[in-house]
Every structure is written in C-alpha cells, then in structure tokens.
Subunit: 204 residues, 2 copies
Amino acid sequence: MARPKQSATEITAMRERILNATFELLTQQGLQTLSVRAIAEQVGVSHMTLYTYFENRDAIFYALRERQRGKKHQRRAAQLQEAQSGDPCVVMREVLASYARLAEEHPRLYQFLWVHTAAHATQHHQEHRFACNLNHLAALIEIGVERGFFRQLDPDLAAATVFSFVNGPLILYHSGHLQDRDRLRAIEAEALATALTYLKKKEC
Amino acid sequence: MARPKQSATEITAMRERILNATFELLTQQGLQTLSVRAIAEQVGVSHMTLYTYFENRDAIFYALRERQRGKKHQRRAAQLQEAQSGDPCVVMREVLASYARLAEEHPRLYQFLWVHTAAHATQHHQEHRFACNLNHLAALIEIGVERGFFRQLDPDLAAATVFSFVNGPLILYHSGHLQDRDRLRAIEAEALATALTYLKKKEC
C-alpha cells in the first residue's frame, strides 16, 4: 500500500524535527563528527527517509543556519520594540543575561562562538558576529538614552563595555582559568549588576 | 695575555644581561625556537662565552623564571605596603592598569598567559597563576575595605569581578573578536573607571 502524500504542513514539521535533532547533536558533539546517519538516528527515521527532506548534509546545515539567523533577527527586533514601549533596563538585563544562559545551556557552542581563537578562514565570521552583537546592544542603549533611562553615553563604546563585562568572566571560565562554577555565577551576578549601574541614570 | 678574573659584581651583571636578552627574545618569538646561539647573538658574545655563565638552555630559563617571580613578589609586597600607608585606590588603579600595559608591551606573553586555552600539562600552572593574581587583588581589596576606602565587599568575589572587568576586553582583542586598537583603549578606560567605582565607597 502506497503511503499517502504528505501535506506541506507535515513536510515543514518533519524538516523542523530534523533541524532540531541536528542542532541538538551539534551542541553535543560539534560539526566534525556529525553524519547524516547520526541525524537520522536522532530523529528516529532511516537515513534514506531523511534524504527526501534534504538533499545532503550541507543542505541541512545551511537550512539550520538560516533558521537560527531568522530566529535571532526576530528576537532582536522584538527586544528593540519592547525597549521602545516598555522598560529598556529590563530588556538590557535580559539581553546581557542571555550570554550566561547560552554558556550554561550550550557550553560547546559558547566556546565555539566566543572562546576559541579563530582560524583565518573563520576570522571574518567571528568579526561579523561580534559586530552584530555590538550593534544590537548599541541600538538598545540608544533607545535607553533617548527615552531618558540611560546616561548620555557613546552607544558603540558602551555596548562594547557591557559586552565585555558579562562575557569576560564567561570566557575566563570556559578557557580554563576560572574553575569554580558557583564562583562564576557569583561573578556574573556582580558583572550584570555593574553593567546596568554603568548604563542607568543615577536617579533610576 | 690572560683575561683578568671577573669580580662577583661583573659576573652578576653579565648574567643579568643574558637574562634580559632571553626575556626580550622570548616575548618576541616564544619558547620553541629560542636557541642558546640566538641568546648569545642578542647579548653580543659567543655562545661558548655564554656557557661560562649558565650550564645550558634550561638553566637560563630556570634562572629567568626565578628572577621574574622574585620581581613580581617584590612588586606585589611593595603594592600592599603602599596600600596600607597611602591611597589604596591609587594602588588598585595601578595594578588593574598593569594588565593592559602588559598586553600592550608584550602581546605574545599576554596571549600565552591569558588568551590561549591551556593544554592539560599547563592547566595546573594556569590555575595557579590565576589564583595568585586573584589573591593579590583580594589582599588589596581587604586593605581598602579595612581602611574605609572601599565598600564592604567579599574580597575574593570582588577580586575576580574587577579582574574580569579589565581583562575581558583585552582577551576579546587578543583572541581576534575585537579588532580596533583605539576602541580597545577606550573600552579599557571605561572598564578601569567602572572597576574603581564598583570598589569605592560612594562618598569617595
């Protein structure tokens, strides 16, 4: 008996499941050792089935990267909107805390993004990623200044400063200098509070 | 005509010159490629002459490490004494600024000490070095708190916090994320000022 043809919704749902499985495996074991067979196993289908949804391994990675990029843009746009109408301090706290959350939930990914020194080939990506992060922080700071929540600051400089406040301890931990996880959490709390004090007007 | 025998002072002076030359070469080209011949050339003597002052390459490195360690201990003891009698804020500023100065003057050494992820063999040294740096900062903070210059703080936590404030931007720069040197200097100034504000009593 032939299987009934899948609807577009069913195809999209299956592709999502495959991308979720790939993301999961990537954060666990990195890119090098990740095979289509391993992804298919994680989803619970045969690897031949998987090829009906994606042409090859690269197509899966490409789709995953695009999906994650899209999600990030949506999240950032929502944060800027929230800062425009709500409390920019709350949004800033959320954004700054997200680095520690990423490092906690996906340590391998955090190390890949921020700790390991890049090879020449990925140096450009690394600079671009850093610039995107700083641009988002600078846009938030600009809104905070305009709306009178933050001090008069150079948004670009202040963005780099608060970025390094919260990521400094994380990088020291994930490069092996700082060993104690509880100590890291305590330092992160200090860094986050200090970053917000640095941004806010005194009367806040 | 036989050379007159050297005095103890002359021998010490020559050993110092050799150690200075070795330090200079180490910071320029690292440990791997550094030969006794290269050191002798840098000093301006034959490598046979050099062997009358040191048994071998390892003996030079050992003497250099001991000398640098001794200098550091002396400097740190002097800083603690200065904090006891003078202004702890001034001493703290000096200590925190010294990381940026090291990174500026000896970028290869700074990268070796704080940026590159350690191999298992050097992991222990790395932890020890970090602990020594934090202990010194914590001792300074304790003096500052006792003498009423700094807020009531947990010295160990505050030490790790200010360490990561000033080293975060340096590590981001020396691992390739941050590219602009002038921007780094501006962030460092912000980080240093914020670290001191974080430590000091409000009435300062």
